[in-house]
Assembly symmetry: C2
Homo-oligomer: 260 residues x 2
């Protein structure tokens, strides 16, 4: 087992862990695979404050961003100010693979909390597809899961009522955080404001507030400060008509395991 490069400081170690942990949900990575991921994630690192844009609609996409720590979101905005958060980025998440083949971003990426990202270059992906098939597969899996999440959001906005929708979103975030190793029992950090939730669910701030009161009253969530507790995940899931199948958290057959 090789050691990871020394320039990885403690916080980023944990961060890479989120990615690796998530990918290993799907394929078993070899020590060499992990080293390549750790190296790529420690190479070009940038830090951002909270509530700041990382990229704006119209920019030319240059690199793939990997979130090492903090929360961010993709959003789109209409001229009159209406804003929709179309996805959240949690630690270990990556924006679209290969975005750099497009000319222009069709959305913006903004931070919620302070965020550390690693920029992954075209070369990195060439290297991966040439010599690290397990990572390549895992990245495809990530891409497919992201597409599935986006479809589920379409479903969420189109068919679920306000409280179902909110419960569903909370479930999804909780599951994703857990996958990345960022929950403790029934609790996780939760830095989203009610305004963020409004932009993500397509509801007004007032109605988000009402809806959260409802969920609280039904003992489905405890949400105070920046901490979320889910007293009974099962109940929250059923109230949000949440079926985790779209997260595809099931490891493939053994043919994908590292065998060294």
């Amino acid at each position: 087992m090789e050691s990871v490069p020394i320039r990885l400081i403690a916080a980023e170690m944990i961060a890479v862990t989120a990615l690796i942990r998530k990918l290993e949900q799907f394929v078993r990575l070899s020590p060499a695979d992990r080293v390549v991921l750790a190296r790529a994630s420690s190479d070009r690192v940038r830090k951002f404050g909270p509530r700041v844009d990382i990229t704006r609609e119209g920019d030319r996409p240059r690199d793939v961003h990997l979130i090492l720590s903090g929360w961010a979101c993709r959003y789109k905005q209409l001229d009159d100010g209406r804003r929709q958060v179309v996805s959240f980025f949690l630690p270990g998440d990556m924006c679209d693979l290969n975005v750099f083949i497009l000319k222009e971003m069709d959305h913006s990426i903004g931070t919620i909390t302070s965020v550390t990202i690693a920029d992954l270059s075209r070369d990195f992906f060439d290297e991966i597809s040439a010599g690290y098939p397990r990572i390549a597969t895992a990245l495809w899996w990530e891409t497919l899961v992201n597409a599935a999440i986006q479809r589920e959001w379409t479903m969420n906005l189109g068919q679920r009522t306000a409280s179902e929708r909110m419960a569903h979103l909370l479930c999804e975030i909780f599951f994703r955080l857990r996958l990345a190793g960022l929950t403790e029992g029934l609790t996780c950090e939760f830095p989203l404001t009610q305004a963020d939730l409004a932009d993500a669910t397509g509801l007004s701030k007032v109605h988000v507030n009402r809806t959260l009161q409802e969920l609280r009253a039904a003992d489905l969530v405890i949400l105070r400060g920046k901490v979320l507790t889910v007293p009974c995940l099962e109940r929250l899931m059923s109230s949000g008509l949440f079926n985790p199948n779209y997260l595809h958290m099931d490891r493939e057959g053994s043919q994908l395991d590292a065998n060294e």
Copy 2:
């Protein structure tokens, strides 16, 4: 310029054309590229009647489906019957690349009209990534555009009013059909029922009807039988707050052109 394999009958020729035409929006394909695509599309062809499922949620995904002719859609359904169409498949469209690495479908695919599809195998994609870099790039482009479309739908459902939403959807379909060479001037075939539109926009059938009346009254669309005419695309676009940037219909720099 080689000739395409003889087993391609006329209708499928046109169908492959939709794919090639679309991909060439982004990269210039060589004659050899076109032959490979034509071969793959004529290999394992299946036909379906209208209003029939091609795959169901829970099935194991086996191949990538390419729509040769007809319209289909992806949809998800809740236990109580609420149904959301999360995307439409038009001729030349493909379902997710590499789906076969997942264990289970998280959504269903159903036909709207009669549909002809080609099943593309794992081997085909291996062949492409090994020897046809321009096709590989074009397929990545398709993947990214599909993701962008799904995000735009999220925006559509979350922020746009009923009539904006409807106008936006009609614009999108018109643009996509035009890209595939399936429009004639301001007109195209349009086999969707109002119930389909309801499932896609997250509105009730009644409200879809009202909304279409509104658009008709404002002379934004002429929709009769199974034919859509857009008297003035500009006006429909602005009424739907439609910005085609997310379709990324701009060809990359010349480094991606075929140079033979």
